[in-house]
């Protein structure tokens, strides 16, 4: 017979109505990205032979800057969730797994910060 409180054994071991959170976030960002990547395709098409001034003017337009910020955050978050699942599936060495999870998150958040700061610099004309 165990002396552990049953609640202590149940906590922290997965689904307590949070089981689909990661799965759902991956799908929700995927739906957003259908539209944002479509817009990125249009932007790449429009800017293919643009010089620096034209590229800067495009990115500095408030509407484009807003969509680009959304795209950077959503795409890196989606990529972070995806890489996390890949590591969970294939990396079975605990220390390596935790290190990779840390690096994936650090990389995604660093990329979001770099992207947003640069887009704001361009949009605000600083």
């Amino acid at each position: 017979m165990s002396m552990t409180n049953p609640l202590a054994r149940a906590r922290g071991h997965g689904s307590a109505k949070e089981g689909v959170r990661h799965w759902f976030a991956q799908r929700a960002t995927a739906v957003f990205l259908i539209f944002l990547v479509g817009w990125l395709g249009y932007a790449a098409f429009a800017l293919a032979d643009a010089d620096y001034a034209a590229a800067r003017a495009f990115m500095g337009h408030p509407f484009n800057a807003a969509l680009l910020i959304l795209l950077v955050i959503t795409v890196l978050y989606h990529g972070m969730l995806g890489l996390q699942v890949v590591v969970e599936d294939y990396v079975h060495h605990p220390a390596a797994e935790i290190t990779l999870h840390f690096l994936i998150r650090a990389g995604a958040y660093l990329g979001m910060a770099l992207g947003v700061v640069n887009i704001l610099i361009i949009a605000l004309g600083a």
Binding site: I34, A44, Y52, G79, L114, N118
Partner: protein, 128 residues
Amino acid sequence: MKAKQRPLSPFMIGPYYKPQMTSLMSIAHRLSGVFLSLLGAPLLLWWIMAVGAGPEAYGSLLAFFGGLLGRLLLAASMLALFYHLFNGIRHLVWDSGRALDIRSAYTAGWLVLIATVLATAVMLGRLL
């Protein structure tokens, strides 16, 4: 005590099954996703940061994408992006519980492959 040897179902990719479109496209979805996360996203950020940094940085970005390595990276990124986009939509349809029978899975698979080739060709025709 030695664990009893239990029968395992064979892994979908390997010597036991002949290659199937469903399993190959599934692993390709993962591979393209990993590629886009590790290489595609940094390229997108480089583009944004180069525009933020000024004409010189933007010039070296254009020079890189004019070279052989840059063109190869750009082509691979576009291929991975369009494949992951179209096949992702196929997965979202499956997640909604639709088109899960074998015939629909293959039809949608072919549609994804055709759309990927077309979109990549059009985009690279413009960018390269």
